[in-house]
């Protein structure tokens, strides 16, 4: 990786954004950013563009005074406003660059606040440390999961549910798909975080202040008493939440890649079969069979095609594997996060791939041109390269701001892969 002194068009987003997405997976929750107002404005904008949903994020609106004298008063005011306005039953506090750099003692401020206001004592207010310079949105999401489970998981009566921790950001439609699959198995499972409804809300007569949906608090607490935990998308960022449940509460834990592609989905299925001691329901076996049929139908179009994959680590890894399964060549694989584990994992799947991490799009562009890439797969952020080089772009991941249906994109499981393969093949046909 050559040393460059400027990042041009980064391939990742800000750390607090991951935290917001994690908290949105909890029922009746709100998130507040401790920092300048701009941070929450821009996250709201990005998320609104992608999910096409209104997204409310509180801000402590730190000012010059706060930056010099400390922002405890601002934070308390912000918490008061958010709690009064939205009546959430859990609040996430994500600290931005500013709050972290001036050394805000957020846990202390939160406990002072709850002591001073008895009405809010029962609301878990969970701090996640997320300065932008410490990581990308992916790390923000993982940190939030860990903080939430650490704070809430409570020992109680053992029950017969299992835990499914969604270890990296996937679409609401994919969460719905996995939940449906588990329900049909049947597998009584606590799915956390669950953004299947909160980022894809239907039109109703009375639009609520906080959208319905998300994992109930009681269930997150009960995760300590489950029979097992599966973390999907838990490879690159260490699946700390699941590890915590194992270390503190003795809940056995297995970390799997995201169920993207046949083999990864087969692993996921095997894990659930172990837990439930029930075979995969027939309808999904048929879905798998139809997927194989779809792959064979499209094999000539995609075989040998040089592809570039970029975006979130786990998603990029899953798609790299999928491409190998269908005979395409993932020749450039890039992520904005700083992690050498990613490079190792990509090379294990595709030894000849050019792997970039801490990537920005100028570097991705160079490699795409050098490798004569024919197909790009990733979020909208790569569209300038797609336009300039006339390479078809199949939009997958976050953020997708220039097309519809981001919340409804499906790539997980057998059905998701079928959609993906059709989309890849059709994109190549459109371009020819």
């Amino acid at each position: 990786m050559s040393k460059t002194y400027a990042t041009i068009n980064p391939c990742s987003m800000c750390m607090p954004m991951g935290t917001v997405i994690a908290f949105k997976g909890i029922e009746n929750s709100m998130t507040l950013f401790h920092g300048s107002q701009g941070c929450s404005t821009y996250m709201r904008l990005y998320l609104a563009h992608h999910f096409r949903e209104p997204v409310d994020i509180g801000s402590s609106a730190l000012s010059q005074e706060g930056a010099v004298y400390g922002g405890a008063a601002n934070l308390k005011k912000g918490l008061r406003n958010v709690i009064q306005g939205y009546t959430p039953t859990i609040v996430g506090v994500s600290t931005t660059c500013l709050a972290e750099t001036i050394g805000e003692d957020v846990p202390r401020t939160i406990s002072e606040f709850q002591r001073q206001e008895p009405a809010v004592r029962d609301i878990p207010i969970i701090h996640v440390s997320t300065p932008s310079y410490a990581g990308t949105h992916e790390e923000g999401y993982a940190e939030a999961l860990k903080a939430i489970v650490k704070r809430l998981a409570t020992k109680g009566e053992p029950q017969h549910k299992c835990n499914l921790i969604i270890g990296s950001i996937i679409s609401p439609a994919d969460v719905r798909y996995l939940k449906d699959m588990l329900e049909r198995w049947p597998c009584d499972c606590i799915v956390f975080p669950d953004i299947s409804e909160t980022f894809d809300a239907p039109i109703v007569t009375n639009f609520p202040k906080i959208v319905d949906g998300g994992t109930p608090l009681s269930e997150i607490r009960d995760m300590a008493n489950s029979t097992a935990t599966i973390t999907i998308g838990g490879g690159v960022w260490r699946a700390d939440a699941g590890a915590l449940l194992r270390d503190r509460f003795g809940v056995p834990h297995v970390a799997l890649p995201l169920p993207i592609g046949i083999e990864n989905t087969d692993y996921f299925v095997a894990a659930i079969e172990s837990i439930t001691e029930r075979e995969l329901p027939q309808r999904y076996e048929r879905e798998r069979g139809r997927l194989l049929d779809a792959l064979i139908d499209a094999h000539k179009i995609v075989n040998g095609i040089k592809a570039a994959v970029y975006g979130d680590t786990e998603l990029a890894l899953g798609i790299t594997k999928l491409l190998r399964e269908i005979g395409a060549d993932p020749s450039v694989v890039a992520t904005g996060a700083t992690t050498s584990t990613f490079a190792q994992r990509v090379r294990a799947l595709s030894p000849s791939a050019t792997v970039l991490y801490s990537a920005d799009f100028t570097r991705v562009h160079k490699e795409i041109t050098k490798n004569k890439v024919q197909l790009m797969i990733g979020p909208s952020t790569g569209r300038q390269i797609s336009l300039k080089e006339s390479i078809p772009l199949v939009r997958v991941g976050l953020p997708i701001s220039d097309r519809f249906g981001a919340a409804r994109q499906m790539i997980m499981g057998y059905e998701g892969m079928t959609w993906m393969v059709d989309a890849l093949a059709n994109a190549l046909l459109d371009a020819s």
Binding site: P10, S63, Q64, H365
Partner: protein, 381 residues
């Protein structure tokens, strides 16, 4: 390479830079980027952390400017400095470092500068063509469709026309102090406003040919656009509009534009409006209109329902709230893709309102109706 204006450049500071300072990284970044992109100038924006750790932005920029022989200008845009108003001031201060650094002999006898015009969705191009037709040279437009050279010579106009006063009246005042250039507040959005802007300019120069040309343009354009606008007007007249904009200038223009289209304004608000802005708004809206300042989403939601708005004009963050409330929407933010200023722009605006307001989607039943249509036929199945 991807077009310059579509790229973002950052020193991407990490923990190490926060602890040891980022000045060297910044200096190297500027040098490397200038070598690759050959820009005529560099603006360096500071973020919160830079302000807190005390990097000497001015020193780095001055040294870089000296070394690279192009303007390298710091913009004091730390988030904690305040809201957008402080940001505008920081931008104006940065522009003032460029303005006046290049001499220019105008090609025409009569010259204007457009301030607070950002060429959103190509807004400024038809405007420039009207002035051209009138025989008036637009020396520079700040900062829509502007080049560094144009900014540097922005002091060479006889008259400054300020559209977005929220962002640039400060700059206009400075230019008046420093160069004696008078300024007038205008709007290019709305038929009457556009016509008035041209006539105000003509009146300033007191040159018969300019006035005649202005009148000619107005007559021609009005007769061209009015028939189509009238068609849309008939389909949206009487509907209730809610306005929630970042700044007051556009909010005021919108009130007038809605009047032209026969729509009622039931809510009007801004994020950054000041006292005198609200006094102006109060004077042009009717009784019963709710005026709000810096509303949060909950307040906006409540008002939209209570005032029974048929349409909200705002930006992306509000768009989906409107949609969830089954309220039509018009994007009037800086990321819109349709030209709304000028005469043709009004057709686009009216069409946009009609397309949203009169879509059948709002009438589809939210609660599925109980339907017994098939019961009889299936009764003995």
């Amino acid at each position: 390479m991807v077009p310059l204006y579509k790229s973002s450049f950052s020193t991407d500071m990490k923990e190490k830079d926060i602890i040891f300072g980022g000045e060297r990284t910044l200096a190297r970044a500027i040098r490397a980027l200038v070598a690759d992109y050959h820009p005529p100038a560099v603006f360096v924006y500071s973020t919160c952390i830079v302000g807190v750790i005390g990097d000497d932005l001015r020193a780095v920029c001055t040294a870089a400017a000296h070394e690279l022989k192009i303007p390298v200008i710091p913009v004091w845009s730390e988030g904690f400095r305040g809201n957008k108003n402080e940001g505008y001031k920081a931008a104006c201060d940065a522009l003032l470092e460029l303005i006046g650094t290049r001499e220019y002999i105008p090609k025409k006898r009569f010259t204007v500068c457009l301030l607070g015009e950002y060429n959103v969705a190509g807004d400024v191009w038809p405007i420039k063509s009207y002035f051209e037709e009138m025989g008036v040279e637009v020396v520079s437009s700040l900062t829509g469709d502007a080049t560094v050279e144009e900014v540097q010579r922005a002091h060479c106009s006889q008259l400054n026309l300020v559209q977005c006063n929220g962002s640039m009246e400060f700059l206009a005042k400075r230019l008046e102090e420093k160069y004696g250039t008078p300024y007038k507040r205008v709007s290019f959005f709305g038929l009457k406003a556009m016509a008035s802007a041209l006539m105000t300019t003509a009146a300033f120069f007191r040159e018969p040919s300019i006035t005649e040309q202005a009148q000619e343009i107005i007559k021609r354009e009005m007769s061209r656009v009015l028939p189509e606008i009238e068609w849309y007007r008939r389909h949206i007249s009487g509907k209730k509009a809610a306005i929630y904009m970042g700044g007051a200038a556009k909010a005021v223009s919108l009130v007038n534009a809605f009047k032209e289209l026969g729509m009622k304004v039931v809510i009007i608000g801004t994020q950054t409006g000041k006292r005198d802005d609200y006094e102006k708004i109060d004077s042009i809206v009717k009784d019963g209109t709710v005026i709000i300042d810096d509303a949060n989403p909950l307040e906006l939601q409540d008002l939209l329902i209570r005032q029974e708005a048929d349409l909200l004009v705002s930006g992306v963050k509000e768009r989906y709230l409107a949609y969830k409330l089954r309220t039509a929407f018009c994007d009037f933010n800086h990321d819109r893709t349709k030209t709304f200023e000028g005469f043709t722009g009004m057709i686009n605006f009216a069409r946009e309102l009609h397309t949203s307001i009169n879509s059948p989607v709002w009438k589809l039943p939210v609660e599925r109706k109980h339907c017994t249509q098939f019961s009889k036929a299936l009764a003995n199945a």
